[in-house]
């Protein structure tokens, strides 16, 4: 059984079925890809998983437990972290403060719920401040730690979002186009980081339009089109898939 599963997940906006019967399995220890053309419903699927949007049908199962009725912040407390396609950083605060807020919020609710161990530290439990420093450093943000995030370029702001999401020590991390705005070197580092995180036991669901990156880091790739999963498989299977080619390039 996968850590995070969706079964028949659907949402309807007016008469439009934006996500239709989506089944996903997000396993611990690997990066799972979710790709598809514009408007295919990828971000909407994220919103349904973390409860920002209510599903009109289907179930979200986390660690064997249906969580579809929980509100967003309870789902986060179970261990679902995410980033946003359209940046949702705390623009008026510095990079360090952004991560600190995440860690502080976690510390506040950690008293009531089970929290997974730190992902990037090796074994030992670090004090809050050090954990924040560690995250800032591992995301390559040490040089800009005291810069207001509102003043950062997109790529770095995306890394801040990842660091902040990691600060709540999630068990599954939903990344929404983390590489957009990054240059090739940064994208390379991000790929390595994702693989490291996965290796330490995190489940990652990656929405990304940088297809080479997806092909490089993902163990499994799901292709979404018109709100439906039209294909799933290993990267090489997906690349060879005619249906996928048609979905991306259209027609014949």
């Amino acid at each position: 059984m996968a850590l995070l599963e969706t079964r028949g997940l659907s949402v309807r906006f007016g008469g439009h079925l934006a996500v239709s019967s989506v089944d996903l399995d997000v396993e611990s220890g690997v990066v799972t890809g979710l790709i598809g053309p514009n408007g295919a419903g990828k971000t909407t699927t994220f919103n349904l998983i973390c409860g920002v949007l209510g599903a009109t049908g289907g179930r979200v199962i986390f660690d064997g437990r249906p969580i579809g009725s929980l509100s967003t912040h309870y789902r986060a407390r179970l261990g679902i972290g995410r980033t946003f396609q359209r940046l949702e950083v705390f623009g008026s605060m510095t990079v360090r403060e952004n991560v600190l807020v995440g860690a502080e919020i976690r510390q506040a609710w950690a008293r009531f719920s089970h929290v997974s161990p730190q992902l990037l530290a090796d074994g030992e439990e670090l004090p809050l401040g050090e954990e924040v420093e560690l995250l800032v450093e591992r995301l390559g943000l040490a040089a800009v730690a005291d810069v207001r995030v509102g003043e950062l370029p997109t790529g770095q702001a995306r890394l801040v979002e990842i660091a902040r999401a990691l600060a709540i020590r999630p068990r599954v991390l939903l990344l929404d186009e983390p590489a957009s705005g990054l240059d090739d070197t940064e994208t390379g580092h991000l790929g390595e980081l994702m693989q490291q995180l996965a290796a330490s036991g995190l489940a990652i669901l990656l929405v990304e339009h940088d297809v080479p990156l997806v092909m490089k880091v993902c163990a499994q790739v799901n292709v979404l089109d018109f709100g439906q999963v039209i294909a799933r498989g290993t990267p090489s299977e997906i690349q060879a898939n005619e249906v996928v080619q048609a979905a991306y390039l259209g027609g014949s």
Binding site: V52, T72, F84, L87, V89, F90, V101, I105, R106
Partner: protein, 778 residues
């Protein structure tokens, strides 16, 4: 049964007018995106204009009606849109709310100014000389039939407008998709202006229709708007049919409640007769509670027009200490009547401070802070003078709890609904609680002086110190909190609620806690005020200026609350200084100066569109050069201290002291730059000239305040000096700041005057298109 029938028949015309008014509100909101809190005030003004034209100047009813409803009101609405609303694009919800609430206060003041209260003005009902019609045994005046008929006509015409005319279709198009309309060549700004014109016409119509059945009083007519808010909220601010349903519920409900409940009816000691007037806020609250949960949306990073620095705790402590010192120093110079103004200034500053965590830090709106202060004062008074200072503690706790609980249903919502919910709460508290004899016997209640045992704060000076200390302590506390976990969390929530939720933060409980803290501070203000609270001070609309001034002062920082609150508190100084003065144009029209302060809060608020961050950050930015120049930074307090000492010893007049202070503040930044040698000789000389002129003026000013000088001289002297200082400050600001601001170019300026179409293109293709000169334009 007879009574029921009768009440039903009286309720329906009322519902009809409410429907007209609410329709205007909804049309304006859906199309321009701005909720017009001043909608009722526009209707009120129109009713007065109608009275002036018809009764005052004797024009027959019909032309007067046409003039007001089809000319004056729409022009006014369009003007408001053009001048105030268009500049609000991209401003925060807080600023949007404050601008229209300020407009409401401003219009109320204007009405009181032009049509002084106390004169009996009556608008007669239409066809009052014709006998009413008998419907099911109840005689109904023709006027009431007209109300219903007009409402039906409005619905019909509106339908025609929206479905059969281009502008109407375009209005619906704006609601559907604003940018698509632009791509069609439609101008959303014009449509928005039209919606304001239409909304104002409808407000005018409602105002004129209802005026004969109410007294022609500015406030009564203006507050009819709460009914429109309620009906619009039933329609979720967008559905017209549901809005009509809301209006019907309100008209009938009010009629039944007023009909069935006698003035003497009581439940225990609770007087029930106020339920009728409390009905609309009740419906408003219920409608808001049943609204669906606001969806969390990822809206992406938005450019924030407001930006505040977070001060350090040390500077907050320093600020608090200097506040107490300065306040005492000023108080010592003041005559007792002016000292009372200082008490008010500090009281309002403390109430404004309560908005800093809520509005400044967390970005939430409240229009009920004075109400919370009233609750605090009343609770302290109920606990009694003997149990002080326990009373203060109880008052803060109770108010905090009350604030948290009261806000709970509205906190799942955002922006405009929160503003409406707090407004409803303020109205409800006034009608149902503050008007109770058991709560405010003889319409007032004395808040006991603070003290321990027999040591009471009894003098005015003591009260001033107490309030200043309370403000200082609360400020330090707030700055401390802002710099800690809680403050980071609020700032995070303001930046991105959805991100906070996905980090595991419960938005509702965070907001409730913030609301409780905010209400608690307001409650503290009431409990330590030592005031005699009157019901009039706790009116629904008394809440608006505080929020306005807090935002104008700069609600993100505690100093902003101090500036905003004290400005509000000392406004009545004009009443005292210019008690007998008036401005006017010969004998043609004349306005007592003391009345001007009713309009000022409105003017302050509407200025916000340009500077949403508020005064305080603007000032601290202006005084930045002073901080860099040690000579100025040390010289300034020393100079002021010397001047104060001279004034204290009566060597110089109090007015001279104030004038000197104003002068110093105006030119200080420039002096700092001059002293640092950063300005050229010529500019330095100009500034020197200003200083000399200012000094001369400051010493000449006391002459103008002598009792035997004429009103005109006195007034001119003050205004003249004010202008001088203002010009100096403005000029200095101009010297120190680089110009900015750029407008989007109009294509006509670029030389494209006629549409480019296919034939143009073909022509161009043949090489005959545009001449070289044309191509070189820009």
């Amino acid at each position: 049964m007879d009574q029921f029938l009768q009440l039903t028949i009286t309720g329906i015309p009322l519902a009809a007018v409410y429907a007209i008014s609410a329709t205007g509100l909804v049309v304006t909101y859906t199309i321009s995106g701005i909720f017009n809190f001043a909608h009722g005030a526009i209707g009120m003004l129109a009713a007065f204009a109608y009275w002036q034209i018809h009764v005052g100047w004797g024009l027959p009813a019909l032309p007067s009606l046409i003039l007001v409803i089809f000319v004056i009101a729409p022009l006014f609405g369009a003007l408001v849109e053009r001048v105030l609303i268009r500049g609000l694009e991209g401003a925060s919800e807080v600023v949007n709310v404050v601008v229209t609430t300020s407009l409401m206060i401003g219009l109320l003041g204007l009405a009181n100014l032009v049509w002084p209260p106390g004169v009996n003005r009556n608008v007669v009902q239409f066809f009052s000389d014709v006998k009413g019609v008998n419907i099911l045994g109840v005689t109904v005046a023709i006027h009431r039939l007209i109300m219903v008929a007009v409402a039906v006509l409005v619905v019909g015409l509106l339908w025609l407008l929206l479905n059969r005319t281009r502008i109407g279709v375009t209005m619906r198009a704006v609601v559907d998709d604003r940018s698509l309309l632009q791509l069609n060549g439609g101008r959303p700004a014009r449509v928005s202006m039209f919606s304001w014109a239409l909304g104002s016409s409808l407000a005018a119509l409602a105002g004129i229709l209802i005026a004969p059945t109410l007294n022609l009083q500015p406030i009564t007519l203006t507050l009819m708007v709460v009914t429109a808010y309620a009906a619009a909220a039933v329609g979720r601010l967008r559905s017209l049919p549901l809005t009509f349903l809301g209006a019907l519920i309100l008209g009938l409900g009010e009629s039944y409640l007023k009909g069935y409940i006698d003035t003497s009816d009581k439940l225990g000691s609770f007087q029930l007769d106020k339920l009728g007037s409390a009905f609309s806020p009740i419906v408003l609250l219920i409608a808001i509670i049943f609204l669906p949960q606001a969806r969390l949306r990822s809206v992406g990073q938005q450019r924030q027009r407001e930006h505040w620095k977070v001060p350090s705790v040390e500077s907050a402590v320093l600020g608090a200490v200097s506040l107490v010192v300065v306040v005492v120093a000023v108080a010592l110079l003041l005559a007792p009547t002016y000292q009372l103004l200082l008490v008010d200034a500090l009281f309002f500053a403390l109430v404004a401070l309560s908005l800093v965590p809520l509005t400044g830090y967390a970005g939430q709106i409240s229009l009920a802070q004075v109400t919370f202060a009233g609750v605090g004062g009343i609770v302290a008074s109920m606990v009694g003078a003997q149990l002080q200072p326990l009373g203060v503690v109880v008052a803060v706790a109770v108010t905090g709890l009350f604030g948290g609980l009261a806000a709970l249903p509205a906190l799942r919502l955002q922006g405009i609904y929160l503003a409406l919910a707090t407004a409803a709460l303020a109205m409800l508290m006034y009608e149902l609680v503050f008007l109770q004899d058991s709560v405010m016997p003889a319409n007032n209640r004395q808040v006991p002086p603070v003290g321990v045992g027999d040591m009471k704060v009894s003098s005015t000076l003591g009260q001033i110190v107490l309030l200043a200390v309370a403000f200082g302590l609360c400020s330090i506390g707030l700055v401390f909190l802002r710099r800690g976990r809680w403050g980071r969390r609020l700032a995070a929530m303001k930046d991105s609620p959805v991100a906070c939720a996905t980090l595991g933060l419960s938005l509702t409980s965070t907001k409730v806690a913030t609301f409780a803290v905010s209400a608690g501070i307001a409650g503290l203000a009431g409990a330590v005020s030592g005031k005699t609270l009157t019901t009039d001070q706790l009116r629904f609309e008394a809440n608006f200026p505080v929020t306005t001034f807090a935002v104008v002062g700069g609600v993100g920082v505690v100093s902003g609350a101090l500036i905003g609150g004290s400005m509000l508190g000392v406004l009545p100084v004009m009443n005292k200084v210019f008690a007998t003065n008036a401005v006017g144009l010969f004998k043609f029209f004349e306005i007592p100066v003391s009345k001007l302060n009713a309009v000022l809060p409105g003017l302050m608020g509407v200025s916000l569109g340009r500077n949403p961050t508020g005064l305080s950050p603007m000032l601290s930015q202006r005084f930045e050069p002073v901080r860099r120049s040690p000579v100025a930074a040390i010289g300034f307090p020393v100079a002021v201290a010397v001047a104060w000492f001279l004034a204290y010893r009566d060597v110089i007049d109090g007015w001279t002291f104030l004038a000197l202070l104003a002068l110093v503040l105006a030119v200080l930044p420039a002096m700092a730059v001059v002293l640092a040698g950063e300005l050229g000789l010529q500019r330095s000389l100009v500034i020197g000239g200003i200083v000399v002129a200012g000094l001369a003026g400051a010493f000449a000013l006391p002459w103008a305040t002598l009792s035997d000088t004429s009103n005109a001289v006195r007034f001119c002297a003050f205004v003249g000096y004010g202008v001088l200082v203002g010009v100096a400050a403005g000029g200095v600001a101009g010297l120190l700041q680089a110009p900015e601001d750029e407008r989007p170019p109009s294509p006509d300026m670029l030389g494209i005057t006629s549409p480019l179409n296919r034939s143009d293109a073909l022509e161009a293709e043949r090489g005959l298109g545009f001449s070289e000169e044309e191509l070189l334009v820009r």
